[in-house]
């Protein structure tokens, strides 16, 4: 729908309301825990936007993977695919990226970096393909299969970093670091914010354009919003569209992992993903699956996490509650949506014929 249509505006207001409610919940938790609200609020501000460092190397840096994986979730959900496996697809991408990068340590950056990212994209898509095939050929609920695959990916990464990809001294459970040439360049001197952020923005704009302007993007949207009508009225091959969207979602998640490896961590280790795949669900929902809004939602959550770290450092408030906020945001959006749907069906009945 048009970004400025009435329906879009009302959805956006619901999201804003949910976000504000979440912040209010934060305030309540802070006060209830006996912390100084003013102190905590200041700490949150300085942690997320109070200085150039906190803004670029805190908020926006943390927002980058959230935007990319948020896009992965948005694409999947728009097609009606419940992809809960973004974490696993991200890990697969990260693993492929580090393997490629380590193998290309001698190559110049303009060769190694694109190949690293490509490896991440392909690996993420392949990991998602397992679940996509299980869904298409065997009717397996993707909710369960993608969850299982998250764990398999976790273990596979474990085997890799203790085994073939382990750093040369074989002491630490992690890979060797990427050569400097294989790392994403930083875009602001003195900060840690890297090219990946620009890539994330560009992707969001590109996907937004794809969804609203191309026939293929339209097919994804109708397959998710009304599969029966898409097939009958639109003659769309819904199965194929859904399958491809699933793979695309995995590819984006894999890219998210690739960007984290080449831009921030420069190596792969245990607990590489602090639950990006799940936070991304909150990001995508808050953004109502609109790719442009994913940028805003991703930055919002990035700010929350950076601010949360700041609050913990300076005001002693535990940072774990960021998860609480994210959960409340999801629940808030869900509740508002359903309340609206119930109200709408009571006020303006659709006049659907009864079985008589």
């Amino acid at each position: 729908m048009s970004v400025f249509s009435r329906a879009a505006r009302s959805q956006a207001s619901a999201s804003v309301a949910a976000a504000l409610l979440a912040l209010a919940a934060v305030a309540i938790v802070v006060i209830a825990g006996g912390y100084d609200l003013g102190h905590a609020a200041t700490a949150m501000w300085t942690g997320s936007a109070g200085s150039a460092y906190s803004l670029f190397s805190g908020t926006l840096l943390r927002a980058t993977p959230l935007i990319i994986v948020g896009l992965a979730i948005a694409v999947a959900f728009q097609a009606g695919v419940l992809n809960i496996g973004a974490d696993g697809q991200l890990l697969a991408g990260a693993a492929a990226t580090i393997a490629t990068g380590l193998a290309m340590a001698a190559a110049p950056g303009w060769i190694s970096i694109p190949l690293e990212l490509l490896a991440g994209i392909l690996a993420g898509a392949a990991w998602a393909a397992i679940a996509a095939v299980l869904k298409r050929r065997f009717g397996v609920l993707e909710v369960i299969s993608t969850l299982m695959l998250n764990y398999v990916a976790l273990f596979a990464v474990g085997i890799l970093i203790y085994g073939p990809l382990q750093e040369p001294t074989h002491v630490y459970p992690e890979t060797a670091p990427l050569a400097v040439s294989a790392r994403l360049p930083v875009i602001i001197a003195g900060q840690r914010l890297h090219v990946g952020f620009v890539l994330a923005i560009a992707l969001a704009v590109g996907i937004w354009w794809f969804m609203r302007s191309t026939a293929a993007g339209f097919r994804v949207r109708v397959a998710g919003a009304g599969a029966a009508a898409a097939a009958s009225a639109g003659r769309v091959n819904v199965e194929r569209v859904v399958f491809r969207s699933f793979l695309a979602s995995g590819a984006l998640a894999g890219l998210g992992g690739a960007v984290q490896v080449t831009g921030v961590t420069y190596k792969l280790f245990e607990n590489f993903s602090p639950g990006y795949g799940y936070t991304a669900i909150a990001v995508a929902l808050l953004a109502r699956l609109n790719p442009l809004a994913v940028i805003v939602a991703g930055i919002f959550f990035g700010a929350l996490e950076a601010g949360g770290a700041g609050m913990q450092r300076d005001a002693g408030v535990p940072s774990g509650f960021v998860f609480v906020i994210e959960a409340l945001v999801i629940l808030g959006v869900l509740a508002v949506d359903r309340a609206r749907a119930v109200a709408a069906s009571r006020a303006e009945p659709l006049g659907e014929e009864a079985v008589a």
Partner: protein
């Protein structure tokens, strides 16, 4: 393999399997009514925290009661959204898991300090059953465990009986297969699902309680370690039956125990392989027709 090694392996397997079995049996009942509760993780970690708090006030029995209570509280929130508001089960469940993990971590740090020093709570010790615990090979493994494990030996057959030999169990299974048919027969699917979720929440809470009060002796953030999601895999592997779920829990527990076994016998395979094996097995089972047809027909459908 020597008897001692095998027994140690089995004992360790049963130990790992106990919290898994509690969570999975609870999830089994829930899924048999057609609901997937991914928020089980929230119930487990909530139960773990509840166990710590309540045990601190009144010892282990109160701790377990508190664990079950907190688990039911988490389930109540989930049920309110999914049954009353009819929100999407998966997304709501994901939010509940995040909520539980985040809130318990926050409360733990706030109440017990951020020093990182763990707070200890007395754990219940294994209680050997006379005679039975002397059976060669399996005796010490099965009958020298804490009472929470013994409780399972009663719960599983009781649940199996109730599923297939009681009118209540019949009604519950019908709701998960065809809620309309159940409704036409005079059963209220919503009410059955509510009760199932409360039971599942209590069992999830007990799972967390077991971790704290019968195993680790303390609480740490995120200690549920994905057991809520593993429980879902266990239900699939166990083909949605009580005995099947108990067996599958044992397989997953055994996989964890393989780690210790490998260490003692000097196997050199990566420890992640046996850990991953049950998940891969589940995926394969899902793909085969038999695996698919075992699922309740109405599983995952939006509540109507």
């Amino acid at each position: 393999m020597s008897e001692g090694t095998f027994t140690a392996f089995l004992s360790s397997g049963v130990r790992f399997a106990t919290p898994l079995a509690y969570a999975a049996l609870g999830e089994l009942v829930v899924e048999r009514t057609g609901v997937i509760n991914i928020g089980l993780e929230g119930a487990i970690i909530g139960g773990a925290f509840g166990a710590l708090v309540f045990a601190g006030a009144g010892g282990a029995p109160l701790g377990f009661a508190g664990a079950a209570l907190v688990g039911m509280l988490v389930a109540t929130i989930f049920a309110s959204f999914v049954i009353a508001l009819k929100t999407d089960q998966i997304i709501t469940g994901t939010a509940m898991s995040m909520f539980g993990l985040g809130l318990t971590g926050t409360l733990y740090r706030s109440i017990y300090g951020t020093a990182g020093a763990s707070l200890h709570t007395p754990t219940i010790a294994p209680v050997p059953v006379p005679v039975l615990s002397s059976i060669p090979f399996i005796g010490p493994a099965l009958f020298n465990q804490p009472v929470v494990t013994y409780a399972l030996y009663a719960i599983v057959p009781a649940l199996a009986w109730w599923f297939y030999r009681s009118t209540g169990g019949l009604a519950l299974r019908a709701v998960g297969e065809n809620p309309e048919a159940a409704s036409a027969a005079g059963i209220s699917p919503a009410r059955v699902q509510w009760i199932a979720l409360l039971f599942g929440g209590a069992m999830g809470g007990l799972s967390g309680g077991t971790l704290v009060l019968a195993q680790v002796g303390t609480f740490s953030e995120g200690m549920s370690a994905g057991r809520g999601f593993i429980a879902i895999a266990i239900v699939v592997l166990g083909r949605w039956t009580p005995w099947g779920v108990a067996g599958a829990a044992l397989i997953f527990g055994g996989a964890s125990a393989l780690q210790t076994l490998a260490q003692t016998t000097g196997w050199t395979m990566p420890y992640q392989l046996p850990l991953a094996f049950p998940y891969v097995l589940t995926l394969i089972l899902l793909a085969t027709a038999r695996g698919r047809s075992a699922a309740p027909a109405a599983l995952g459908q939006r509540v109507s």
